[in-house]
């Protein structure tokens, strides 16, 4: 009940966020040089034609007029058509989002599947060779540029071993996802390893873990029942943030593997001054991120009864 109210409150909070984001994006797009008419008409258009099209599109109206027109139309569900392709902006977003979403979910799952267990082992066997090796590997993957990592993976697995496809061409098979997912997940996995490790180390030293030991609980129960849930709380935040980032599509990885994702769409729209498309992309991302953070908060409440109690009391934990 309280939770439901809390969720509704948080979702309502989305409106001002989206409004603010749209205003900022709209503003930035409007006050940077270049105009959409040139983009639509192409390089051979004359000045007169450009001016005329700008007039037709209402580009000569004051900024606020244009913005409120946009908001009014958006409220009726019309976010405009892309200047570039003339298609409704959300058609394009949804066409691209599927693959970004799949990639993001897979990457985050792989990162968790790699990061959390290794983090746990690292913490439980602190200063062992496993800990040492995993720390070094984690540092390595946290430090290498994604671009380089992707190319190395491609060169090794595609070119040398001829095992995996390097780009998203032809019929997309699960194999196609392996390299991009690896590229995306290794960095995140590295930070999850480090965070899980340090949190586990901290939790293992807590008094209640000692209480559990004094009860005669087995090592497994101590790790999974008593430590992990507590240690995972901060990790979940990082996972949420990384997931939000992955949802935005990672331009670099998309570019390298030729993935038609959301990131490349956003960048292409910005480059071509496609205001409706850019605004819609960024609004969509803002929405997704707020949504993900809400999910993270709810997960927190699920894991930690203290947080749930705080919601129940109606105390705001933090703004977003």
């Amino acid at each position: 009940m309280y939770m439901a109210r809390y969720i509704i409150k948080r979702l309502l909070l989305l409106l001002p966020i989206l409004l603010g984001v749209s205003f900022i994006v709209f503003g930035i797009m409007s006050f940077t040089p270049g105009d959409p008419a040139t983009e639509i008409l192409g390089p051979m258009a004359t000045k007169e034609q450009i001016a005329q099209l700008n007039e037709e599109m209402g580009m000569n109206d004051p900024f606020l007029v244009r913005y409120f027109r946009y908001v009014a139309e958006a409220l009726t569900g019309d976010f405009g058509n892309s200047y570039r392709t003339q298609k409704p902006v959300f058609d394009e977003i949804f066409a691209r989002f599927g693959i970004t979403f799949r990639l993001g979910v897979m990457a985050i799952c792989v990162a968790i599947m790699i990061g959390v267990p290794i983090g746990i082992v690292s913490a439980v066997k602190q200063y062992s060779w496993i800990d040492f090796t995993s720390t070094i590997i984690a540092m390595f993957f946290a430090a290498v540029p994604q671009f380089w990592l992707a190319l190395m993976l491609v060169i090794f697995f595609s070119l040398q071993l001829q095992l995996l496809p390097s780009t998203f061409t032809g019929t997309i098979t699960p194999q196609h996802f392996i390299l991009p997912v690896l590229t995306l997940s290794l960095g995140t996995a590295a930070s999850i390893i480090r965070l899980t490790r340090s949190n586990m180390l901290e939790t293992i030293r807590q008094d209640y873990v000692r209480t559990a030991r004094a009860k005669g609980a087995s090592e497994g129960s101590i790790i999974f029942k008593h430590s992990l849930r507590n240690a995972l709380l901060p990790v979940i935040t990082v996972i949420g943030i990384s997931f939000g980032y992955l949802m935005g599509g990672t331009v670099l990885v998309e570019s390298i593997f030729g993935i038609p994702g959301l990131g490349s769409l956003t960048i292409a729209s910005i480059r071509s001054k496609d205001i409706p498309q850019t605004t819609a992309c960024i609004l969509f991302l803002a929405f997704l991120n707020v949504f993900i953070m809400l999910t993270v908060d709810l997960l927190y409440a699920y894991i930690d009864p203290r947080v749930k109690a705080r919601y129940a009391k109606g105390v705001k934990k933090r703004a977003s």
Partner: protein, 511 residues
């Protein structure tokens, strides 16, 4: 109870993740194409291009890549290649004495992809549609009337003689079918229907365009059945994918890799010259640059070979002309000054320049590289420039408004001198006349030249333009842009057009 709930929660997540993988697995057959060798002669091709497409409505796209695709789908009346006009949809055509009436006799057996037969009405429809297009208006505005004389004869009447007509209109306007256009509604750009050798299958935004051989094509049947243009924005992976045989041809490679590809010999590398002219563009109103002696000093100080070799990794063709003999109306009588450091210093001495730093604004990383090489060259004669990389839109905007001194750019203009007016005519100042050239003689040459029918007289009419360009050093031409086509050696490509790209019908597997 609690544990059971947890177990199901975990199971649910697991199944969801699995289904994500499952969702992308193929339905049945297609087994890892990228590694299974094909025993019979291959009839599919995958080509990598460097950016996504925009629109396949021929009149509403300014992008080269769109044209690369729709060239396969649409036919034009004629096709310009290597200085000649090939007859594509016509058996014959005539031009009236005064150059105002063009009559086209259409082939009899031509079918659109939607099954409709090509008639003169389609020519009327297409020309009229082109007239209303913003992008085509510049070229089609000369058309006074388009008529269907009979089912297979179309007559186009111009208001006044317009010599570039064959080039700018007859070879450019894609012939479309009225019925198909009506059927597509506002999705003409997504459902192109032409008479070309390939039909449009699908466009996965951001990913690929698939074309299929048209069974009823009126011309010679191409060898390749299915052609896919794949968007691979990263040149490294495009090359790797080609090496890996995941794709058969890439139009984008890392420029530094060219030497290695040539040496390896495992892939064929063509450097297809284009009509794109790369040059040093100068704002004639900027300080120092407004002095012709200063510009001459710049011209003499320019070492083209070096710029191409180091600034472009050799992926370009050195050029001393903004446009050359491929362009109708080109005279070739006047040349830009040759590289000569002594002369450069000599001319520089005649100016008031005293080592001031002149900004060299560029909008792209690859232009910056050129700028840096050029900076070194100019330093030798005592001219200092600073290379500044701007955001692309800002850069274009600065160029248009004249808020710059020097830059470098590539301009591609269709092959008739008349068409170069868009960047050199005074009425294009504020538009693409980045040089801000405001010369009456040049303007007059453009205004009258297009209607001179006799080729020799036409050259004479255009001569003042080249004179102005090179004697007064309005531009410093550096190179001709090339398109790198790197492909499987089993593939043969008959020819590349002047945009550097080839049509699929000109490609064939030989092995």
């Amino acid at each position: 109870m609690r544990n059971q709930k947890k177990f199901f929660a975990v199971l649910f997540v697991f199944v969801m993740v699995l289904s994500l993988f499952a969702g992308c697995s193929p339905k049945t057959d297609v087994k890892d194409e990228y590694q299974t060798p094909t025993p019979a002669l291959k009839d599919t091709i995958k080509m990598a291009v460097y950016s996504d497409f925009k629109s396949f409505d021929p009149y509403n796209s300014g992008m080269t890549l769109d044209k690369v695709v729709y060239t396969n789908i649409f036919d034009t009346l004629l096709r310009y290649y290597n200085g000649e006009f090939e007859k594509v949809l016509v058996t014959d055509y005539t031009v009236s004495e005064d150059g105002t009436v063009y009559t086209f006799k259409l082939k009899d057996n031509v079918k659109f992809h939607n099954g409709e037969k090509l008639t003169a009405n389609d020519i009327v429809f297409s020309m009229e549609r082109a007239k209303t297009s913003n992008q085509m208006a510049n070229y089609t505005k000369s058309i006074a009337k388009v008529e269907a004389v009979d089912a297979l004869t179309a007559k186009i009447t111009l208001e006044k003689p317009y010599v570039p007509f064959l080039n700018a209109v007859a070879s450019t306007v894609c012939i479309m079918n009225e019925k198909a256009v009506k059927a597509a509604g506002d999705q003409v750009n997504l459902k192109p229907v032409g008479t070309g050798p390939y039909t449009f299958v699908k466009w996965d935004a951001g990913a690929q365009v698939v074309l299929e051989r048209f069974a009823d094509y009126h011309g010679e049947k191409p060898q390749i059945k299915t052609a896919t243009y794949v968007v691979l924005t990263n040149p490294e992976t495009a090359l790797i994918a080609t090496q890996n045989k995941e794709i058969d041809l890439t139009y984008t490679i890392p420029s530094v890799a060219a030497e290695q590809i040539k040496k390896d010999g495992k892939l064929t590398l063509d450097l297809n010259p284009t009509m794109g002219s790369g040059y040093i563009v100068m704002n004639l109103e900027a300080p120092f640059i407004n002095d012709v002696n200063f510009r001459k000093a710049l011209a003499y100080a320019t070492n083209r070979e070096e710029i191409v070799a180091y600034g472009m990794d050799g992926i370009a063709e050195v050029s001393t002309h903004l446009y050359d003999e491929q362009t109708v109306g080109f005279t070739g009588e006047i040349h830009i000054p040759e590289y000569n450091v002594e002369k450069a210093k000599e001319f520089l001495a005649k100016t008031t320049y005293a080592g001031e730093v002149i900004p060299f604004k560029v909008g792209y990383e690859n232009y910056k590289k050129i700028g840096i090489v050029y900076q070194e060259q100019l330093k030798k004669v005592g001219i200092n420039i600073s290379v500044e990389l701007l955001e692309a839109n800002t850069w274009v905007s600065d160029m248009k408004s004249g808020n710059y001194s020097m830059s470098t750019i590539v301009q591609t203009v269709d092959p008739d001198v008349a068409l170069w007016s868009t960047i050199l005519h005074s009425n294009a100042i504020g538009g693409y006349n980045f040089s801000r050239l405001d010369d009456e003689e040049v303007d007059t040459a453009f205004d009258t030249g297009a209607s001179v029918l006799d080729p020799v007289q036409r050259k004479a009419a255009y001569a003042p333009i080249e004179k102005k360009l090179y004697e007064d050093v309005v531009v410093i031409p550096i190179y001709r842009r090339v398109v790198t086509a790197c492909y499987n050696p089993s593939l043969s490509i008959e020819r590349a057009f002047n945009n550097g790209f080839s049509a699929v019908q000109d490609m064939a597997w030989t092995k």
